[in-house]
């Protein structure tokens, strides 16, 4: 499991490679929080293009980061959801509070 970070116009962009389950979610959470603390950003944008599997542990991870971003007056955006991830996303109701985009550019311009 690898995470690549970048910062663009006040957004922390996070690309996770691998699967999000209970086991990996603990590491992901820890790493993301550390990076978010370090950076002067409001929003977190998740690039899901390399996530082939996510279970409800991933919902917990996103909800937790949503709270962190909210504390700074920011939001969470996601893009490039694979079909399995999208189904978990919809069923959890996450799509009601987290905006889904088709691309990074769309996410950045919408989250301004």
């Amino acid at each position: 499991m690898d995470i690549i970070y970048s910062v663009k116009r006040g957004n922390l962009i996070v690309k996770i490679y691998g699967e999000i389950d209970h086991h990996t979610s603990e590491t992901i959470r820890e790493k993301l929080d550390k990076e978010f603390k370090k950076q002067n950003v409001k929003n977190i944008i998740f690039d899901f293009s390399e996530i082939q599997f996510m279970d409800s542990s991933g919902i917990g991870v996103i909800m937790g980061r949503y709270k962190n971003a909210k504390e700074r007056g920011g939001k969470i955006g996601v893009f490039n959801l694979q079909p399995q991830v999208e189904r978990v996303f919809k069923l959890s109701g996450l799509h009601k509070i987290i905006n889904q985009y088709n691309s990074l550019d769309e996410a950045i311009s919408s989250l301004q």
């Binding site: 699967e19 389950d21 209970h22 086991h23 603990e26 959470r29 599997f53 279970d55 409800s56 542990s57 919902i59 917990g60 991870v61 909800m63 937790g64 079909p83 399995q84 189904r87 978990v88 069923l91 959890s92």
Partner: protein, 143 residues
Amino acid sequence: MQYQNTMKVSFISKSQNEAFARVAVAAFVSQLDPTVEEISDIKTAVSEAVTNAVIHGYENGEGIINVSCTLTNNIVDITIEDKGVGIEDIKKAREPLYTSKPELERSGMGFTVMETFMDEVEVESIPGKGTIVRMRKKLNSLK
């Protein structure tokens, strides 16, 4: 003619084995040639049930989790069994968003995911003895 096949795996309740369990079941079910969506539904449901056994059944301690899978024509039956603490109130545990461990940032959606992705989910639990989750899915892509 009826086709039937069964497999069983047992492993220690380490969180690393969540991925092992869902991949093992998916590999076994693959012999029926299901769709990608059917396989990912099964993987997700198995992942949820095994995660529950690790976190709640054994409370992150060590125990044995037994997973079995039986294929009968196009019906997939899966059981996930632990000998952990058991569930006091199954009805409550199955409610969406309910979690007995809110401090862990869990979503409380585990059973809802299983119920959505499988056709049937039965939970049998005795406090202090353990829990068995039985799930069934009919592979509609196979006639």
